[in-house]
Amino acid sequence: MRKLLLGLIAVLLFAGQVLAQKTIRGTVRDDKGNPLPNASVVVRGTSVGATTGTDGSYSLAVPASATALLFSSVGFEPTSVDIGTKTEVNASLRAAATDLENVIVTGYTTTQKKKFSGATVSVTAEDVRKQPFGSFDQALQGKASGVSVVANSGQPGANAVVRVRGNGSISGGNVPLYIMDGIEISAADFASMNQGDFDRIEILKDAVGTAMYGSRGANGVIVITTRRGRAGQLNLNYDMQLGYSQLPDDRLIVMNSAQKIDYELRRGNPYGWSAAEADSLRNVNFNWRDALFQTGVTQQHQLSASGGTANSRFYASLSYLDQEGIVQQTGLKRYTARVNVDNTIKNWRFGVSMQVGYSKIRGTDEATAYIGSPLNAIRWSNPYERAIDPNTGDYQQLGGVGVLTSGQPNAAMELFVNQRQTLQFKGVGSAYLEFHFPFLKGLYARTNWGGDFAQNEGSVYYDRTTYTGAQAAGGNGSLARSANRQFRYTGTTSLNYKQTFGDHEIDGGIFMEAVKTDFRAMGFTGYGLTNGFTNETGITAGNATNGYIPQVSGSGTQNGLQSYFALLNYGFKSKYYLTLVGRRDGSSRLGVDNRFQNFGSVGATWVVSDEGFLENAGKLDDLRLRASYGTTGNYISAAGDYGHLPQFGRISYNGANGWSLTQPGNLNYRWEVNRTINLGVDFAFFKRRLSGTIEAYDRRTNNLYFNQPVSQTTGFATIPGNSGTLSNKGIELSLRGDIIRTADFRWTVEGNITYNRNRVVSVPDDSIINGTTILAVGKPINTFYLVPYAGVNAANGNALYLTQAGTLTQTYSTADLRTFGTSDAPWFGGLSTTVMYKGFDLSAQVNFFLNRDVFNNDMINLANPSYLFDNMSIELLNEWQKPGDVTNIPRPTSAGGNAFQSNTTRFLEDGSFWRLRNVTLGYTVPTNVLTKLKIRSARIFVQGQNWWTKTNFRSFDPESSSPVLVGAQYPALVQTTVGVSLGF
C-alpha cells in the first residue's frame, strides 16, 4: 500500500512542469455563449496546457514555436484554433450530444454510434457510481433494456444475477462476459472493485458486438472502461457518502407467543405445558427478528485525481467502503486503489491501468433450509423462547448444547458466537502499446495484455458451545480455512487500419488473442477448539480417541482459449454502414476433435434521416435502421473445464486411496452456439427532445449443453452432451424525453421495457421434471410443474386437488401435475425521471419485474403441520377444525389420505414486483459561491435505495432469481445515504 501511494504521488508530481516564452489569454464559451469553466487548453503537439476558470477565462504561457491551441471539455467536441500572432485566443465549443450518445466501446474497438449496427446499451456511469452497492452490478438494474438484473441477496458485496436477453442455456452458464479495459475479468469478486472508477459501461446484446468475443459472447458482453486522465490542470475530487440500511417489510408473518401456545394446545400440547406455564409463555413475545437484524451504517470515501499533459495523462484514486449489513455481524469493508496512465511518445502510445482491491466480507449462511442457519431460525424459533435467558444473562439453551426447547439452534449463538468471513484480494491490471505507422495514415498495431487476479481466504469458526460446533468431529467446534486464487491473463494483439477515401470509410483490424485461466484452491478443517482460541492455536491435534482428525482438501483447474479474428466496418456516403466479424476460437474445454470453431456476424445500418427524401421531414432529427445476424458460443459449459474427458476422482475408503469414476465424459463435446438476429430502430424527434430505440431480437441456442439423462443403472444420472434448441425472442423499447428544457429548469423522463419470450424448442427428452419445475417443449425453462391446490373439503378438512379432468379430488397424485408460470419475468424494465431546477436535482427510478412466479419453500417450512414444534405461519390459525369449517388450510392430521403435500400450487406465489430503486435529491453549489470558497465544484445529495416495494410475494423480498425461495433469505437492503462531492 505504501509503495502504491508513493507511486501515486510520483505520478501526481509528474504532471505540470512547463517552460514558457509567450502568454496567451482568452475565454472559452459554449455554443450558447456561456463561459465554460474547467475546459482544457493545450498547445498542440506539446504538453503545455491550462484549464479555464469559473468565468471561462484562461491564461497560458506558450513556447514560441506554438502554432495552435487545442480546446476541449467534457461533453463538448474539441476544437483547434490557430494562434498566429494573436495574444488573445477565444474559442466556442459545440456541445457534443454526450459521449455516451456518440460512441460505442466494444472492448476491441471504438466506433461512432451512428456507424454501429449492433444492439448496445450504455449505462450512465454516474448512476452506477452514486449507488452505494458493494457489488456494482446491482446498480445496473432497470438501467438497460434487455438486461435483467436481480439481486439474490442483500449481503453487502453479493453479486447480482445478470441476464442479457434471457437465459440462453439450460445446463450451461448464463452469465455475461465482463471485460474491463480490454481484458476479461471474472463475473465474481465485484465486492473488491470500486465502481467509482468506472467511466463507461456498455452492454453488447446482439451478434455484432458479441461475435467479436466468439465463444465467450453468447450471454452478452458487459464492457467496462475505467476513468482516464485528461490533459489540463490537476483535478482533485473527494466523494463521500454516509447512511444507513434497514430491513424491508416482512410479508411472511409468523405467530406471536399467545397464538403459538394456543395453537400447540389445540394440536395436543406436544410439549406438555401446564396451564401455568402456558400462561406465562403467552406473554413472552420475543422478537427474533429484532434480535438478529440491525440498522447498518454505510460510509464510503473516495479520493481521486486526474490530470496531465497532452502527452501524458493519469487518473488515480483511493477508496474506502464500510457497509454494515442489516443482519448483525455481517458487512463489507473494502479498500481500493487505481492508477491509470496514458502516454503518447511520437508514434507510440502506451498506457497502464491498475486496480487493487482488498475487502473483508463477513457473511452468514443464506438460501438454505438448514436449521443451523440463523436466518431460518428467526422464522422457526418459537416466540416464547429467548435468545438470552433473562435470569442468567447467558444464551438460552433449554434443549441442550446450543439449542432451544424445540431443538432449534439458538440463532443468536449461531450468529454471534460463530464467525464467518472472507478476505478477498483482487488485482486487475492491463497495459497497452500502440504504434501508428508513419508511412500510412490510419494504420496502427496494438497489443494489450492484462491479468485478473483474485485471492480469497475464507474462514468459518464454529464454537463448541453452539449447535453447529457440537456437530464437529470430536464435538468440540471446528475451524475451517480455505484459500483459493485465480489468475487469468488476456493478451490481444492486432493490426488495425482506419481511413476514408471519398465516400468510402474503412475501419478494421486483424486480431490474435490468448486467454488462460488458472485456478487453485486448498483448505483444511481443524477440530477440538478447546482452549479459547478461535484461530489455529485453538486446534487440538487429532487421534482416534479424541476424533479431532483434521480434513485437508485441494483442487485446481485450468482453461485456455486461442483465437484469431478480424473486424471490418465499411461506410458509404456516411449513410450506409456494414460491419463484418469473423472469429476462430480454440478451447481446452471441448472434445479433442471439436476444439476449434468459427463464429461471425454481419450487420448493417442505414441512416435514413440523412437521405434526401427526409431532409425536410421537419420534426425528425434522426432515424436509423439496423439489422444484424451472427453466431456466438457459450464458453460456460455444463461440464466444466475437463468435462469432456471421462475421469476418476480420488476417494478414500478405510484409510486407502481409490479411484472412483466421477465424470462419464463425452469426447464429442462441442460449443453451445447462439444464433441471434436483431432488428433495431433509433429515432430522435423535436430537436432530439424525444429519442428512443426499439430492438427486436430472435436469439436461438442450438447444440444446447444438455446433461442428457441416462438410465441410472449406468451409475450416472446424466452425461454431458449437446442437443436441443432454446429460443429467446423479445422486444425492447427505450424512450427518453426532455419534457422541459430551459436554462434553469429541466425535466427528463426515461424508461425502458423488455419483453422476453423464452421457449424450449426441442430437447432430447421432453418433460424432464426437476423438483418443482419441468423442462418441456413449448414452455419456458423454469416452468413450474405442480398439482393444482383447490382448498379444503369442509366436511372432513382434507386438502383438495384438481385432477387433469378438472374435478376435485382428495387424493394427491403425480398424474395431476400441470404446468404453470415461470420464475423468469418475461416483462421487466425501469422508469426514471429527473427534475433539475437551478442547482437542485431530483431523480427517481422505479423498476419492475412482472408476470413471474416463485415457489415459496420458506412458507412450506412454516405451514407443514409436522413442524408444529417450531413457530408457524399465522395462516395456520385458520386451519380446518370441525366439519363445516370453510377455510383454505387443511386439517393438520394426515390420517385418511391427508398427508401434507408440498408440490402444489398452494405454495406458488406471484413473484412480480415494482420497486422504487433509487431516489436522489441533490444540490450543486453555484459557481459564484464556489469561487469564494476556492473550490472547483461541490454537490450534496441524499438518496434512498429500495424505499418502496409493491408485491404480493410472502417474504422479506420478492427479488430472487431462483425459481424457489429455499429459505434463509438475506433481503435486499433499504438504504438511505447522504453524500458530498467536492472538486478542487
Partner: protein, 495 residues
Amino acid sequence: MKKVFKHIFAATVLAATLATGCSKSDLVDLKPEFSLEALENPSSIDQVEEVLTAAYSRFRSGSYYGDGNGSGFSLMPDMMSDNLLETNESLANYKSLTDWIYAEDDALVRGIWAAPYAVITNANIVLRDIDKFTTTDNQRRANRIKGQALAIRAHAHFDLFRFFATSYDRNSTTILAVPYMTEFLVSPSVKPARLNNKDFYDRVIADLTAAVGLLGNVDATINPSTIKRPNIDLAGAKAIQARVYLYAGMYTEAITAASDVITARPLAPAASFAGMYNEQNAGEIIWNAQFDAGQGGPGGGVYFSQNNRSAYAPAAEIATMDGTTGLIRNDDVRYTAYFATIAVANGPRLVMRKYRGKAGLTDGNANFPVFRTGEMYLIRAEARARTSPAQETAAMNDLNVLRAARITNYTNENLTGAALLTAIANERRRELFGEGHRFFDLKRTTRTIVRAGGCGNPSISPAVCTLASNAREWALPIPFDERSVNDNIQQNPGY
C-alpha cells in the same frame, strides 16, 4: 524510409513474440491435474485395485449405508417397519418413506435406486480391466481383486432387488426383479429391462459362486485388522450367499454357506459385543462398511448424536427405558450396545445409540456392520426349521446358542413348528435391530406391518397404523426419471 522499416521491424518482432508466447499446447491442449483421466486408465493392477477401493467407498452414499438421504440399506428398512418410530424431534426429512406415501417422483426412492448402481459401475470397471493385468505371477492377487468385485456386484444388485421386487420368489418367471448390470457403459443407449426373478437369482448366484471360488485362493489376508473387517473376504462372500439363499428359499445351500461362515467367524463373546459398534474389536463382524474420520456414519437419520436429536425412536415392543419390557431387556448384551437413555428438555427418552461414534466418541462417525455371525445363526436356524421338522432340533439349537451368547443366565428353550419360526423371527428382530433387515424380513414372511406404537409423527398421525399385505408400497416404485429415459423398464404394479 529507413526509419519506417525500423518501426515495422520492431512492431513485427513484438507481435510475433507476443503471439507465439502462447502456443496451442499452453492454451488448448490442457489436461486435468487433480483427477485421473479414464481413457487410458486404470493402467496397472494397482490402479484396478484402487477402483475396487472406490466401489467400496460408494457404499457410504447417503442413500446406501450412510446417512443424509434416507440411509436406504442401513436404517431405512427399520424406519419403514415397526422397529423405529418417528418422534416429535424429527425434521420430517424421511416422512415419505417412513409413512409409506412415496410416489414415483420421490427423491429418496431415486437415491435408493441410484446408489447401488454407482457401486456396481465401479465394480464393473474392475471386472472389465482386471484380466488385462493378470499374469501368472499375480494370479492370486488378481483373484483377490476380482473375487471382491464379483461379490460387491452381486450384493449391490441383491439389495436393489430387496426393495424393488414385489416378491422374492426364486423361480418366478413373471415377477420382475431389477436389471443386472455386468458391463461398464454410460450412454443414452443403455436401456436395460428388468430381469424376471429366476434369471435375476441365476445371475446373483453365478457371481457369488465365482467370487467364492476366487476368494478361496488369494495372495494375502483380506481383513488383517482386529478391530474391523472393511472388505469382503471368503467368509464375506459366503455370508452374502447365505442371505441370498435364505431369501430364495434354497435352504440346503443356505445352511451350508452359513455353517462355513460360522466356522470361520465364531460368535463374539458377550464382553466384546458392544465393541463391534464402536470399532474396539472386530468380534464376529464379517464385513463392515467403513466410515473414516470426517466421513459420517449410518445413524444420523435415526439418532443424531452430535445434537442429541432422536428423530426415530425404538418402538416400545423392542425396548423401553427401564429395560424390563420389550424384546430386548437389560439382561441382554444387546440392550446396552443398542440403546441408551439420554435426556432432552422434556425429560429422558430411549434412543438408538448403536452408531454414536467410535471408541468413546459421540460424533456419529461409526461403521456399518453389513454381515455378522449372529445373522448366520439365524439364517441357518430358519433354513433348518423350514426344511423339515427333522431339522427343528438343530434349528432350536442354533437359536439357543445365539441367545446364550447374548443374554445373561439364558436357559434353553425347546420350540417347534410355528412357535419356532416366530421365535426365530423375533430373534432376527432383536439381533438385527438397526442393521437394515426388518422391512425386508416382513416382506419376505408375513407381509404385514402393524405399528402398535403409532405411525409417523405422534402428534399428528394415527396411534396405530398398518401396511396390508396387498399394499403396493411393499415394493418401491421405479423412479420416474429412470422410466422417462428407459422405456424398457416396467413399473411396479399400483404406481
